[in-house]
Structure formats: structure tokens, C-alpha cells
């Protein structure tokens, strides 16, 4: 009976492109060296982690396809291609045709010049009642909408890479990334799916998105500092990047001779009632208890640096004080929907390389780990809502 089947789920493909590089070797190398790529000038006073220069042709061969996408879609389609490459299923139409896809997406990169032109005219009093209609009809690129639609990252991955088993797009900032991985695992574990491509992409170099987060005073300003040193008026530095994982049942992987980076054993998520002080700490602790984590794990967290939630997460982490913690936010910036998949990707990478990457935290909150981890817990705490925990384990 399919409903009672319990499959082990393996991570067999990892694609990452970010401010630190592209591909697994480049990232492992950057993490070992403690490289941080941050730009304090281009969007000043806002600090961002810019995408490294990428030759998109390598994963998106048709220029026509690239032109149909805005940056966030190109980043994601590129990272998805890297993941399929590492899993060894690129171009394998029989497998791709039944690969389920879950993408966590934002969307809506606006045409800033069109918006500004319209707003100037309105304020200058040059706007008749039909002005907005006419300007939008004449100024918007007809296909811009497709580059803005959230589900069109998945759509582009279908077109460029041929992933067509199914296509689902989750929205909702960090929580969407957590739920994408959670649902993929639940479907595979229960036998509802054999293989899935899961991930997200984020373009952090966007004034329209800076604006949304600036409404809530969430952006890190002026000067970069590590997540654990940002203090009570902290914030996040948006990071550009795309992360995709190929997750499949052990049986499916073994049958096609695929090697695992790691096992994805558990993902759970919740939504703390954050108006109550301490609720986030409590929610994380109860997710932790359900995760099956032992007391010698390492922790990779997507802690944003935004307050008050980072302080609440820190209270949770301090209950597990002896454990080595690594904040992806310090190294990659905050990639919103992609932050949790990034944590899972780095956990799998570290387990496959037999070591955790070194601390990047002068405050001393991140401690060294010399033993090879066999379990890594990935923590995701949204800047405004949503908490999640994954357990990633080494495959013997």
C-alpha cells in the first residue's frame, strides 16, 4: 500500500550559484577560506551580497530563453541545471519527465524606469484619468509579465531543462523554502513521488524588494557585519543566489546507480505566534525535539540578523550551546526563499566532504568542529514568520 510505504530520501544533486561562486567545489573552497563577498556601495546605504559574474549560456543555451527571464529566473534556472548535472539526470528525458518540481519563489521584478516615469508625470500633474492605462499599455514590455510571475521560474526550468513530472510553486518568503523541501520529502517518504527537483532563487540586487523590506526596517545599512554581531537594531543584507536539490528515494537512486551526498531524514515547519515573546524560541525547540537530532550534531542556520527574531533564535541555540553553529546569512547574505534550501545544500555538502566548514564569527558564537559530523540540523527562521528544521544525515 503506497500510503504505508516509508522510503529513505537521498540528496543526489546539488546546484548552487551565489555571491561566493558556482558549483560545489567553488563553494566548499570559499567556505573553507571564509570568503565573504559583500557590496556596500551599489545600493548604499543598503548592503547586499551580489551574484558572482555568471555565464548563463552554460545552463541556458538559448539567448531567446534568457531574454524571456528576469534575473531571479535566470539565477534559478541556472542553479537547477547545476543540480541536474550533479545528479546525473541532465537530458535524461525519461527521468525528467517524471521528476516532480517544487520551487519556492518570490517574483515580480518591476521595470523601475517605467514606474518612475509614470510617478513623475502623476506628481507633476500631467496625468489624466486614463494616463496610467495608456502608459502601461505602451511602456510595459509584453512579455515582462512572464518574467514577473512567480510560477514562471518553474515554467522556465521545464522549458530549458525538461523537468515535467509536475510543477508546483510555493510563495511566502523563507517559509516557502522550508515547505518546499518539507513537502518534497513527505511525498518521497510516503511513495507519492520518486524523485524531485526542489529549490529557489533570489535576486537581492533589486530596489523594489529593498523597498518592501525597508518598510519594516529590515535592511542592513552602511556596513557589513556578521549575523551574530548585528545587535538589537540589526537587519539582513539581501543575498543573490539560486539553490536546487535533487531528492529521491533510496530505491530510485540505487536503481539508477546514483550516489548520495547525504540523506534527508526529517523536515518540519511551524508558524509561531510571534506576538508572544518567546514563541519563536519555543517553536524552534519543539521542532528540534521532533527532528531526531542527537546531541553531537552541527547546526547550519539561516538566521537573518533581523530583530527581534534573531535574538529569539539565539535563545534556542543557546540551549544547545555545546554545538557548533554556522550562519549562512554571514557568508551568503539573506536569500529569502532560497535560504533554507541553501542550508540543506550546505549540510549535504559538508557531510559528503566529511567535515564542517570553519566559523566566520569574531564574536565566538560559532565554535570550531574538528570531528566529522554525521548529522547536521538545518534551521530556518523567517524574518517575519515561519520556522523550520531539517535533519540531514551522512550516508554510510
Amino acid at each position: 500500500m503506497p500510503s504505508s510505504r516509508k522510503s529513505e530520501a537521498w540528496i543526489t544533486g546539488i546546484g548552487i550559484v551565489s555571491s561566493l561562486g558556482e558549483g560545489l567545489d567553488a563553494h566548499w573552497d570559499a567556505l573553507q577560506k571564509g570568503t565573504i563577498n559583500v557590496d556596500e556601495k551599489t545600493f548604499a546605504p543598503y548592503v547586499v551580497h551580489p551574484l558572482i559574474p555568471v555565464n548563463f549560456d552554460q545552463q541556458i543555451p538559448k539567448k531567446g530563453d534568457q531574454r524571456q527571464m528576469e534575473a531571479w529566473q535566470r539565477i534559478g534556472t541556472y542553479a537547477a541545471g547545476l543540480a541536474l548535472d550533479t545528479a546525473g539526470i541532465k537530458g535524461k528525458t525519461d527521468i525528467l519527465g517524471r521528476t516532480d518540481m517544487i520551487v519556492a519563489a518570490g517574483g515580480g521584478e518591476r521595470d523601475l524606469a517605467v514606474d518612475s516615469g509614470i510617478l513623475n508625470a502623476k506628481v507633476q500633474g500631467n496625468a489624466a484619468p486614463n494616463f496610467l492605462n495608456e502608459r502601461l499599455m505602451s511602456d510595459l514590455r509584453p512579455t515582462l509579465f512572464l518574467a514577473q510571475l512567480s510560477n514562471l521560474l518553474a515554467g522556465n526550468i521545464s522549458i530549458v531543462h525538461g523537468v515535467t513530472g509536475s510543477s508546483r510553486t510555493f510563495m511566502g518568503e523563507e517559509a516557502a523554502g522550508i515547505d518546499a523541501v518539507r513537502i518534497a520529502l513527505a511525498r518521497i517518504a510516503s511513495g507519492q513521488s520518486d524523485i524531485a527537483l526542489v529549490g529557489a532563487a533570489h535576486n537581492g540586487e533589486r530596489k523594489d524588494m529593498l523597498m518592501l523590506y525597508e518598510f519594516g526596517d529590515f535592511n542592513l545599512k552602511e556596513k557589513f557585519s556578521p549575523v551574530w554581531s548585528r545587535g538589537p537594531s540589526g537587519g539582513f543584507a539581501l543575498g543573490s543566489g539560486g539553490v536546487f536539490l535533487v531528492i529521491e528515494s533510496k530505491e530510485h537512486a540505487v536503481a539508477r546507480g546514483a550516489k548520495p551526498y547525504a540523506k534527508l531524514s526529517h523536515v518540519s515547519a511551524d508558524r509561531a505566534a510571534r506576538k508572544t515573546q518567546g514563541a519563536t524560541t519555543e517553536t524552534l525547540e519543539s521542532l528540534w525535539k521532533a527532528s531526531g537530532a542527537r546531541d553531537d550534531v552541527a547546526i547550519i542556520t539561516g538566521a537573518t540578523g533581523a530583530e527581534p527574531v534573531t535574538a529569539e533564535e539565539r535563545q534556542f541555540l543557546e540551549k544547545h550551546k555545546a554545538l557548533p553553529v554556522r550562519a549562512t546569512g554571514t557568508r551568503f547574505g539573506h536569500a529569502m526563499e532560497a535560504q533554507f534550501p541553501l542550508g540543506v545544500a550546505l549540510a549535504a555538502l559538508a557531510l559528503s566532504r566529511g567535515g564542517l566548514f570553519p566559523p566566520a564569527d569574531p564574536s565566538g558564537f560559532e565554535i570550531a568542529m574538528t570531528a566529522a559530523p554525521t548529522q547536521i540540523v538545518v534551521v530556518g527562521t523567517g524574518h517575519w514568520r515561519g520556522e523550520g528544521i531539517a535533519l540531514v544525515e551522512a550516508v554510510n
Binding site: L112, N133, G216
Partner: protein, 426 residues
């Protein structure tokens, strides 16, 4: 007590509550009576000036005002009205505590023009207005509500708060298939045994200038503005595009076992769901119809039903030249000669295309079709397209024996989803 498991040994998933809002009205009673009377909810747009636009009509919901003139505010209001109705009908849980997760089909939330206007007018005439200038005004707490409002997860947040759903709510966008995808997520969660109940909501408020312009620039909309009620004419030879519309639909899903145990009335069964993505083009279906064919076959296989057992198809039927042709190709390939006999009607002829909400709205109409044994018509069917020889239930509702209904949804980005509903557990 009958069998609680389906053909594949999974928990049977049933519907115990439904709520709906469309341009025809609020609630199942009003919607069903107007839908089966062949009434149209499509009218000239009054919400904003339409000068200079190619399309000037829509299926707007103008009888439910929102606090702000903003798409997510309207969408949330519609969702709330539909969800109130569904939860009340099901009698599940207790007020403010729904015993299961929320799956919400919703359009991507975006900052909208009134907000940008407010910033621009604050900057004033004396400075050039661009995003740098606007950014300088955003912080400091004055607009902090805008952050909460325009997060992609904001609509789900509000519903989760009010109805007390459990766990992490999922907001899903599979374009015009979103409504089916939300239901499918609920069905899968119940089948996995994670929960006994799920709240599946789908909502869309699209009647605003930019949404209209976006679809207009893609040449997707009907421009037959003269008589708005006649513009949406699925499967007709003179169809020229869909009509943008608003709506919301909510379904309370439960395992048959849980529903039976608490003595709930079962309104219908979600027998199966199918999906398959299309890699051909961003807005067009693969000309060979294979993804649609595969999607429909996946739904049949999931339901454990043969094509012969489907006796009504609630079509996606958008009234675009492309969709209706491809839907015929898909259905006729799967159903063979029966494709000409099986009733296939499109609710969109009356309510327009409710986009993210369509899958749930039309699932509810399909379940009402099963309940009332009456098939709503495809109106405006005056000039049949000889290339689409469906029995579209032209212009007048029809009493019929319906035991299993299929509802299709297809969307931009290669999204295809189909769902099969039955009156009774198999």
C-alpha cells in the same frame, strides 16, 4: 460502515464544507441558482477608468468592498467570505481552531500603485522621483504595515490567524491551475496520514489596471466589449479570449473516516488528482497535446477510474482560441468517440476566468453538479466551432445522471492539473 480506503489503500478524502464568491454573488445558493439559470456576471468595469484599454469588462466582485483599493485586500476579503461559509457548513473544529493545515491558492502579492503613488506624492514636485528617492522614505516605521501587507505570505497569514489552522500554511501559485493544486496538496496530506482535515482556499482579485494590461499585452483577453455578458464564449467559433474575473472558493477536506466519526455530512469525494507540466512554451501548450493528455490520464489513474466512468467534464474552457482547441485535443484523445457525447461545459462562459481561484471555484461547481444532478450550461454558444464537436450543454442547464465529474485547469508556465470528484465513495 463502508470502506474508508480507496483503490490504492489510501484514506478516502471527502468534502464537508464549501464556500464560494464570484461575480454572480456570495454563497453557494446564489451562485448555483444563477449559474444554472445561465446568468452572466460579466459587466463593464467601474472600479477604475478604462479609457485607452482594449478590454473594458470583467467579472468583478463589486459587492464586497475592501478596506483599501488594493488587489491583495480584495483577494483576502473574498477568501474570508468563502472560508466563513465553508467552515460553518462543515461544522469542523471550534471557532478560531481549524484542526488541520491551510493550503492557499493566491496570486503573487505585489506592492501596488496606490502605495507607490503615496510615496511619490510625499516626495513632491520638486525632486525627481525614482526608487532611490522612494527608498529614502520607506523606513522609520511609518509604513511598517506595508511590509506585512505585501509579503507573499501575507494572505495566508491572515487566514491562518483567523481560522486557527495548524502548522505552516502553504501559499501556492501554479497560475490558472492554482485552485486545483491547493486542493491536491490537501488531498495528499490527508492520504499521507499527516492530518485528518485540510482547509483549501483559492482566491483572486485581478480587476485592476496593471493586471488587465498585462493579460491584454499577451493578447489573452476578449475585446468584445459591446455586450460584456456575451464576451466569454468558450468553444464558439468566434471566441477571442478570456474575460478577467474575480472569485474565491474554499473546500474543507477530511478523511472519510474522520468525517464519518464526527457525523459530518459528506458533500462529495475528491477521488483523484493529476498533474503534468508542459515544456513547450511559456504561454502555449505543446501542439501534440501530450501534457494535457498525460495530466488527464494521471487524474484517472489516481482516481482508479476508466474514462468510461466519467460522465461530466467541467472544462477549463477559457474562451481563448488556443485553450479550447487544445482542451478538445486532450479530451478527445483520452475519451475517444465518447468525447462527443459526454457533456463538457464551461463555467467561465458566465463567471469569466477567476485565475488562481478557478480550480477551486470550478471544483465547487462540479460538486454542486453532482449534488443537484444538474449540469450548468456553456452560455453564449451561438456559433459552434466545428473543430470542437463537444456537447457543451449549450445555453441551458440540463438535468443528468452524474456520478463522476472531472474538472480541468491549465495555466501559463506549462501548468496542467485535473481533478475527479464523485458523489459517493467508490
Amino acid at each position: 460502515m463502508g470502506n474508508m480506503r480507496d483503490h490504492a489503500g489510501r484514506p478516502i478524502v471527502v468534502v464537508t464544507g464549501m464556500g464560494i464568491v464570484t461575480s454572480l454573488g456570495a454563497g453557494k445558493t446564489e451562485n448555483w441558482s444563477k449559474l444554472t439559470a445561465g446568468e452572466s456576471g460579466i459587466r463593464a468595469i467601474t472600479r477604475f477608468p478604462t479609457d485607452g484599454l482594449r478590454t473594458t469588462m470583467a467579472g468583478a466582485i463589486d459587492f464586497l468592498p475592501a478596506a483599501r483599493n488594493s488587489a491583495p485586500e480584495f483577494a483576502d476579503r473574498f477568501a474570508d467570505v468563502a472560508t466563513e461559509e465553508a467552515v460553518a457548513q462543515s461544522g469542523i473544529g471550534s471557532p478560531g481552531s481549524f484542526p488541520g493545515p491551510l493550503f492557499l491558492a493566491v496570486a503573487p502579492v505585489e506592492l501596488d500603485w496606490p502605495m507607490r503613488d503615496e510615496l511619490a506624492f510625499t516626495i513632491g514636485k520638486d525632486a525627481a522621483i525614482d526608487y532611490d528617492a522612494m527608498l529614502k522614505l520607506c523606513g522609520g516605521g511609518k509604513y511598517k504595515d506595508m511590509h506585512r501587507r505585501f509579503l507573499f505570505g501575507s494572505s495566508a497569514d491572515q487566514l491562518a490567524d483567523k481560522y486557527g489552522t495548524k502548522g505552516s500554511p502553504i501559499s501556492i501559485s501554479t497560475a490558472c491551475a492554482s485552485g486545483v493544486s491547493a486542493i491536491q496538496l490537501g488531498v495528499e496530506a490527508i492520504r499521507r496520514g499527516e492530518t485528518d482535515a485540510a482547509l483549501c482556499v483559492a482566491t483572486d482579485s485581478s480587476v485592476n489596471v496593471e493586471a488587465l494590461v498585462r493579460f491584454s499585452l499577451l493578447s489573452a483577453l476578449s475585446t468584445q466589449n459591446e455586450v460584456p455578458a456575451k464576451a466569454s464564449k468558450p468553444f464558439s467559433k468566434n471566441r477571442d479570449g478570456f474575460v478577467l474575473a474575480e472569485g474565491a472558493g474554499t473546500l474543507v477536506l477530511e478523511s472519510l473516516e474522520a468525517a464519518t466519526a464526527r457525523g459530518a455530512r459528506v458533500l462529495g469525494v475528491i477521488a483523484g488528482c493529476g498533474e503534468l507540466a508542459d515544456s513547450f512554451h511559456r504561454t502555449r501548450s505543446s501542439p501534440d497535446g501530450k501534457p494535457i493528455i498525460g495530466c488527464v490520464r494521471n487524474a484517472l489513474a489516481d482516481a482508479g477510474l476508466a474514462p468510461e466512468q466519467i460522465d461530466y467534464i467541467n472544462a477549463h474552457g477559457t474562451s481563448t482560441p488556443e485553450n479550447d482547441k487544445m482542451e478538445y485535443l486532450g479530451i478527445s484523445t483520452v475519451f475517444g468517440e465518447r468525447a462527443k457525447q459526454i457533456p463538457v461545459s464551461s463555467n467561465k462562459s458566465m463567471i469569466g476566468h477567476t485565475l488562481s481561484a478557478a480550480g477551486a471555484v470550478e471544483a465547487i461547481f462540479s460538486l454542486l453538479t453532482l449534488e443537484h444532478q444538474r449540469i450548468p450550461p456553456t452560455i453564449n454558444y451561438d456559433v459552434p466551432d466545428p473543430g470542437i464537436p463537444f456537447d457543451v450543454v449549450p445555453n441551458k442547464a440540463r438535468d443528468a445522471r452524474v456520478t463522476a465529474a472531472m474538472s480541468n485547469s491549465f495555466g501559463f508556465g506549462g501548468q496542467n492539473a485535473s481533478m475527479i470528484m464523485t458523489r459517493e465513495p467508490a
